[in-house]
C-alpha cells in the first residue's frame, strides 16, 4: 500500500521549470530516495510534498488524503515529519527541549490552560519530557539532554534534529540530505540509524547525495534530472539504468 502518492506535480519559478510532471509513490514501511544532480529539483519537490511550497499543478496524497496546499503544521498533525538540509535546531534551548517540541502534535495544552497551570498540563509536560528522553535513548544520545542544542558538534546536531522529527512519531519521515556534512563513519552510522527507523515501522523518503548511503539502505530510488523524473526503480536497476548513467553517474565522462 502506498503511504504517499505524488501525482503530476509541477512547479515553476519564473521561467525555470523546477519540477515538471513528477509522479511516484512511496510504499508504507519502505525507504525511498530522491537523487539527481544539483539543481535537479529535489529540494523543491521535497518542499512541495511538505507544504512549504504550493504546487502550480498536480496532487499529493498522504495516507489516503489529498494534502497538497496544506500548511506544514497540518501535515505534521497528519503524521509527516521532516529534517532540514541546513540544520534548523532551536537555539538557546537544550537538546531535550528541542526534541520536546517534536511532541507538540501529541500534546494539547493551550494558552489559557498553560497560564493557569492546570494539573493536567503539568502531567502532560512530564509525559512530553519522558517521551523526549525515550527518543534520545533510542538514538543513544541521552547524555546530551541538558546541553544547548546549537552548541553541540555538527554530527550530534544532525542526530538531535532527527530525534526532534522522530518525537513526532510520524508515519512518514522526510530527510533532506541527512548525511550532509558528516564524515564517513558518521555517515555509515546515520545509514544504520535510518534503516533502524524504517524497521521500527516509519516510512522514509530521503534526498541524499551520498551514493553509498542511498544504494545501501534504499528500497527504491527516484532519479530526477532538470525537474523531471527519469527513473524510478530498485537500487541495482538504477545503477544499470542507461539514462541515469548518462545524466548522473556518467557525468564525469561527459
Amino acid at each position: 500500500m502506498s503511504l504517499l502518492v505524488v501525482k503530476d506535480l509541477c512547479k515553476r519559478f519564473g521561467g525555470l521549470q523546477a519540477v515538471g510532471n513528477v509522479s511516484f509513490t512511496v510504499a508504507a514501511g519502505s525507504i525511498k530516495a530522491l537523487i539527481g544532480p544539483n539543481g535537479a529539483g529535489k529540494t523543491t519537490l521535497f518542499n512541495l510534498i511538505f507544504g512549504a511550497l504550493a504546487p502550480d499543478s498536480g496532487q499529493v496524497f498522504f495516507d489516503g488524503k489529498k494534502t497538497d496546499g496544506c500548511k506544514p503544521h497540518e501535515l505534521a498533525a497528519a503524521g509527516m515529519a521532516r529534517t532540514f538540509q541546513h540544520i534548523r535546531l532551536f537555539p538557546k534551548m537544550s537538546a531535550l527541549e528541542n526534541i520536546a517540541v517534536g511532541r507538540h502534535v501529541h500534546s494539547r495544552a493551550g494558552f489559557l490552560s498553560s497560564m493557569l497551570g492546570l494539573p493536567w498540563t503539568r502531567r502532560e509536560q512530564r509525559v512530553v519530557r519522558e517521551k523526549a528522553l525515550a527518543t534520545m535513548r533510542f538514538l543513544g544520545v541521552e547524555e546530551l539532554a541538558e546541553a544547548e542544542a546549537t552548541s553541540l558538534a555538527y554530527g550530534q546536531q544532525r542526530i538531535i534534529e532527527l530525534g526532534r522529527a522522530l518525537a513526532c512519531e510520524p508515519k512518514l519521515l522526510l530527510l533532506d540530505e541527512p548525511a550532509a556534512g558528516l564524515n564517513m563513519r558518521e555517515t555509515s552510522e546515520m545509514a544504520k540509524l535510518i534503516a533502524r527507523i524504517r524497521d521500527s515501522g516509519v516510512t522514509v523518503l530521503l534526498v541524499e547525495h551520498d551514493m553509498t548511503l542511498v544504494m545501501n539502505i534504499s528500497d527504491e530510488i527516484v532519479v530526477l534530472s532538470y525537474g523531471e523524473k527519469i527513473a524510478d526503480d530498485k537500487p541495482l536497476a538504477i545503477q544499470k539504468h542507461p539514462e541515469v548513467i548518462k545524466v548522473y553517474l556518467g557525468a564525469d565522462d561527459a
Partner: protein, 356 residues
C-alpha cells in the same frame, strides 16, 4: 519544578511588602504613588517581554494598546449620556445596570458607563483591534514588522491627539474612581494610597504567575521555538501564525489592562501615553532587562519607570531611554540582568534554580 517556579513569586510578594515598609519607615509614603504607577506600566512590559523576548516578534506600537485601553475606559466613564437618557439604546443600557447616574462638580446631572463595564469594554476593544492589526502584520518579520507596528502606534497617537471627542491635546480628565470591592477603589486619593499600591502590585504578581506558568508550558516552548527557527517550529506542528497572533493579543490585553487601571488611578489620560517614545521606552526596558528574561524586565521596568516618574531624568526623560537602548544594543545585547550573572553567585544559585 512547580516549587522553583513559585519561589520568585514569593520573593516578589515579600519585596512588595518590604518596599512598603521601607517607604513608610523613611517617611516617604508618596513613593508608593509612583510605585503604583510603575506597577501598571510593568503590565505592559511583562507582556511585551513575552512577545519580544520569547516569541521574537517586535512591537513598536504597544503604547497604542495601552492608550486604547485607557482612553476607552476614560471616555466611557466620563461621556455624559444624560441629555440622551430618553434614547432607546441609553435607556436599555440603563436598564441592564451598565450605566451609573451622578453629579458633576457643578451639580449637573451625569449619566456615564459604570467603570467595571467600561474596563471590560476597553479590554474587549483592545483585543479586537490587536487581533485585526496583528493578523496581517505578524506575517512580516524583523524590520518590516517593526515598521508596521510603528505605523499602528503613530495612527493611535495622531487619532487621540486630533480627536476633540477625547480632548485632543488635553486628553480626558476628571475620570472617576473605579470602585472594586469592600471600599477599595482605583483612585489617586491619598487615603487609599497603600491599598492602591497593593492592588497594582497584586495585579502584577498575578500577571507574573500566569506568564511564568506560560513560559514553562508547551506553549512557552513553542513560542521559543518560533523565535529560534520559525519554519522548523511550523514543521514540528506548531501553528506559528496562530501562536504569534495569540501572544500579540495577550500582550496587547495586558497593556490595555495597565492603561485602564492607570487612567482611573490618575483620574485622567493624555496623548503622551500613546506617543511613539512611550513605545520605544517599553522596548528599551525589555532590552535592558535581557529580552527573554521576564524577571529582569520587571525589575528594570520598575526601577526606570520609578526614576522617570520621580523626575530623576529631568527634561531628558525620553533621551535617557534612547541612550539606554543605544548603549544596551552596543555593549550588552543580552541585557543587564542576566541569569548567568546571578547564577555565578554561589549563594543565589540554589535559590534561582535553572532557567527553562
Amino acid at each position: 519544578m512547580a516549587r522553583r517556579r513559585n519561589l520568585p513569586l514569593l520573593v516578589m510578594a515579600l519585596a512588595v511588602i518590604a518596599v512598603h515598609g521601607l517607604a513608610a519607615a523613611a517617611g516617604k509614603p508618596q513613593y508608593l504613588t509612583q510605585l503604583t504607577m510603575a506597577g501598571y506600566y510593568s503590565l505592559v512590559i511583562v507582556g511585551l517581554t513575552l512577545l519580544m523576548g520569547y516569541t521574537g516578534q517586535i512591537s513598536l506600537g504597544h503604547a497604542g494598546f495601552f492608550a486604547i485601553g485607557g482612553y476607552t475606559s476614560g471616555l466611557l466613564t466620563t461621556y455624559n449620556l444624560h441629555s440622551r437618557s430618553s434614547d432607546t439604546l441609553v435607556s436599555l443600557l440603563r436598564a441592564t445596570g451598565l450605566l451609573v447616574a451622578g453629579q458633576d462638580l457643578y451639580g449637573g446631572d451625569l449619566l456615564v458607563v459604570r467603570p467595571g463595564a467600561a474596563c471590560l469594554i476597553a479590554l474587549l476593544v483592545t483585543v479586537a483591534i490587536a487581533y485585526l492589526v496583528g493578523k496581517p502584520v505578524l506575517k512580516l518579520r524583523g524590520h518590516y514588522l517593526a515598521m508596521a507596528t510603528l505605523g499602528f502606534g503613530t495612527i493611535v497617537y495622531k487619532v487621540v491627539l486630533g480627536s476633540s471627542l477625547v480632548g485632543a491635546a488635553d486628553g480626558i480628565s476628571d475620570i472617576p474612581a473605579f470602585p472594586l470591592f469592600a471600599g477599595l477603589a482605583v483612585t489617586g486619593k491619598s487615603v487609599l494610597r497603600t491599598q492602591n499600591y497593593y492592588l497594582a502590585w497584586g495585579l502584577v504578581l498575578g500577571a507574573m504567575a500566569l506568564l511564568t506558568n506560560l513560559i514553562h508550558s508547551r506553549v512557552g516552548r513553542a513560542l521559543r521555538a518560533i523565535h529560534g527557527a520559525e519554519d522548523a517550529a511550523n514543521a514540528m506542528g506548531v501553528d506559528t501564525a496562530r501562536y504569534k497572533l495569540q501572544m500579540f493579543v495577550l500582550s496587547a490585553a495586558l497593556a490595555a489592562l495597565g492603561g485602564v487601571f492607570l487612567t482611573h488611578y490618575n483620574g485622567g489620560i493624555g496623548p503622551s501615553e500613546a506617543s511613539i517614545m512611550k513605545s520605544v521606552r517599553y522596548v528599551a526596558i525589555v532590552a535592558v532587562g535581557g529580552m527573554a528574561n521576564l524577571w529582569g524586565a520587571l525589575i528594570m521596568g520598575v526601577l526606570l519607570n520609578f526614576l522617570s516618574l520621580r523626575g530623576s531624568f529631568g527634561s531628558y526623560d525620553d533621551a535617557v531611554f534612547g541612550l539606554i537602548l543605544l548603549a544596551i544594543m552596543l555593549f550588552a545585547p543580552d541585557g543587564l540582568l542576566r541569569v548567568e550573572l546571578v547564577r555565578r553567585l554561589p549563594g543565589l544559585r540554589r535559590l534561582w534554580g535553572r532557567t527553562p
